[in-house]
Symmetry: C2
Subunit: 170 residues, 2 copies
């Protein structure tokens, strides 16, 4: 009897809601592209998270504070903090005390990460052009705007108080 | 001198390519929604990966083989294999030898996971309606199709030989 009920229930759930299917596809894209991206970054000694910190710091002019970074990042503050400590030990960043405000730590790029940056950008450009090259030029902008709206709405719903870096595209 | 060159280089890279920005936004959505989803699933004793296996098995009629699952999943076969062993130990699935083909293992849902399934679906529906609720009904389908195309193109580029489950939406 349980089996019959179960099979009857299943029939009703083969169809997903639109939002559910959208979520499945987003995780699929993230997983497929993310694996390829991590693979390429490993060749220059980076992980996706470390690359994100370097990329963000470049955008912020080469230095920032852990607090500012954690605001502009989707990662949680405690993850950022652990990540920055690891990156300091590995010579990717320098942490220095601010001379004016003694309790403020400043984070800056080292020569090592400055040298890695153009290599990372090259990896990004090749990979993302290759893997995501099927978005028609004309449709592209509308599609981008829909994805951006989805991202912003998700942020609000999850009550994340963030001011993500307002990257622009060419 | 190095510093000046560095700063000059940075100016050129503040603008990202469209594909690069799209990728950043997809990882942001995946991270934000994924955290909220994992949080909800933990309440019923599941991870995102375990939920994915249960959901997929339901779609396949309640049972399948590790090979077939790994084809329909973005995860790599070795991850699937380890995941299935863990789920068997924890009572979420049963692994049985096929009576006709002795070397073939069949994977099926247990009563425990059948009971969890409707709870998981409820979590999905609430979360994804809530978090992704800002896609206008009219634009929705075109947007979905663009995301699906991106997913399929990424699969081909990454040379993943998969036949993902062709979920349909209501």
């Amino acid at each position: 009897m349980i089996k019959i009920r179960w099979e009857a229930d299943m029939g009703k759930t083969n169809h997903l809601t639109k939002n559910h299917l959208l979520w499945i596809m987003i995780t699929q894209i993230e997983h497929i592209v993310g694996q390829a991206f991590a693979h390429e970054l490993r060749k220059i000694g980076l992980t996706r998270e470390k690359w994100a910190v370097i990329h963000e710091l470049v955008y912020l002019g080469g230095e920032s504070t852990p607090y500012r970074l954690s605001k502009r990042f989707i990662y949680e503050p405690h993850s950022i903090s652990a990540l920055l400590s690891r990156m300091e030990r590995e010579g990717f960043i320098l942490k220095t005390k601010d001379l004016a405000k003694k309790n403020m730590v400043r984070v800056s790029l080292t020569d090592k990460s400055k040298e890695l940056y153009p290599k990372g950008i090259e990896i990004c450009q090749e990979l993302f052009t290759d893997i995501m090259g099927d978005i028609p030029e004309g449709d592209g902008i509308g599609f981008m705007e829909s994805v951006a709206r989805l991202r912003d709405y998700a942020l609000v719903s999850a009550a994340k108080r963030k001011n993500l870096t307002p990257f622009k595209y060419e």
